[in-house]
Symmetry: C2
Subunit: 261 residues, 2 copies
């Protein structure tokens, strides 16, 4: 396995998880560029790396990974200075390769289809990374990086990746919000959220084995209006939960009405 | 382990899963009562049981499990005839023990917190069952039944159980709907739904380890209006998906606005 010199712009959740994983595999983390040292002191120490507020990169950096909020990628890449041979890649699902200024000759996207939180160790094994690159050599290097994590390199154009990012919002953020609502209601019932874990596990298993559309159960898909009305009444302790119950129920009913036509 | 004679009214998904599990453990399935034999012929055969359309139960039935749609439980229990000693229990989360006519002296609820689909074998080990009973003896027998499955007996009054049933709708049906939407969008992007599996697995793990409210990530929780607007535009191929995206996004924003006050 070829070892690379990798630098990061950004010291948030994605940069933290990726830099630790690359470092564990023997890649060298040359520098972490971020506004303030306090925010990444621990990370920099643990990686035996250096911190800088200046996005200047010397010859030892083969790849610069930009992991900053989507709307600052353009600004950051306009400011950075690096050798011409350096590959500059960002990690955003929603942003294309066209965000980079034309002065950068080797650019790419390295989008991990995962949710990152501070302090959680992510298993990169078999995780899909969506890759795009400006040239064959950059693509090869990005694929090698992904391979070194035992992750899976996928290729997608910006238009597909953007849609996939929305699919991920539904699968992750929206699913998590349903669980948050579920926990609030379970607590109102005086029950532990963990009581629901076997149900959620089977829901997910079934969705991936049989497909989620075929797997649907519950009052909405069987148009059990009596139960739905009782549920809405029982949720009167929270108008917000009532509202989201109504919206998701009507969305389920719409989907299966269509299917039965 | 004490072995019981158990009969079922209903031959649907819940009755199928429970009767097979009880039979596998050595309980005897005396009879399956349902309207038409065709619908349960295979089940009855495999259980070495008998079918009847008449809800009459002889002395050999210790427990009658009513697993029919919620709104027919009352009608069904008014019609059934059984010895006075027989325990009659239904499996509905939303219905109380008061659904039973006063002529039935031993009644209960045996609500498995799980999603059942035809053809899926359910692991009952550690699955929570919510139990309610009219008397101490009935409760003991229902707990023994749950114990025989290596499942977990929980006790909840009807009011808690009703709320818990709503929590289950969010955790299972609504979560599954988010996955269904996610699959539709992934297909639109030309990607396999299975690509999202590592992301969903981590989402669920994190929600149960750290709590779902703390675990939230994505454009809505960080009020990234630019990304949200781009997503809504990209979903223009489906007004239904646009609508549910807007609703869940605004529900997430509401929840975290509250939290930050």
């Amino acid at each position: 396995m070829k070892k690379y010199g990798i630098s990061f712009i950004g010291a948030g959740k994605v940069a933290g998880a990726l830099s630790r994983a690359f470092s564990d595999l023997g890649h060298r983390i040359i520098s972490i560029v971020s506004r303030r040292e306090e925010n990444c002191h621990e990370l920099v120490e643990s990686l035996n790396s250096t911190w800088s507020s200046d996005p200047f990169f010397s010859d030892s950096t083969d790849i610069i990974v930009i992991a900053v909020p989507d709307d600052t990628i353009r600004e950051v890449s306009n400011k950075l200075r690096c050798p011409e041979k350096t590959i500059v890649a960002h990690t955003a699902g929603s942003i294309g390769i066209d965000v980079f200024p034309s002065e950068l000759k080797h650019t790419g996207v390295l989008y991990p289809l995962q949710t990152f939180s501070t302090g959680r160790k992510i298993t990169f094994r078999n995780l899909p990374f969506f890759i795009e690159a400006s040239d064959r050599n950059s693509e090869t290097v990005l694929v090698e990086l992904v391979d070194s994590l035992e992750a899976k390199a996928h290729f997608a154009e910006a238009s597909s990746r953007r849609l996939l990012h929305i699919a991920a919002v539904f699968a992750c953020n929206f699913t998590n919000h349903m669980l948050a609502a579920s926990k609030i209601i379970a607590m109102e019932a005086g029950e532990e959220f963990s009581t629901l874990e076997p149900l959620v596990r089977e829901t997910i298993l079934k969705a991936f084995e049989n497909g989620p559309v075929k797997s649907q159960t519950g009052p909405a898909v069987r148009s059990d209006i009596g139960t739905i009305e009782k549920h809405i009444e029982l949720l009167s302790f929270s108008p917000e939960l009532q509202q989201i119950y109504k919206e998701v129920t009507s969305s389920i009913m719409d989907l299966y009405k269509k299917k039965s036509i």
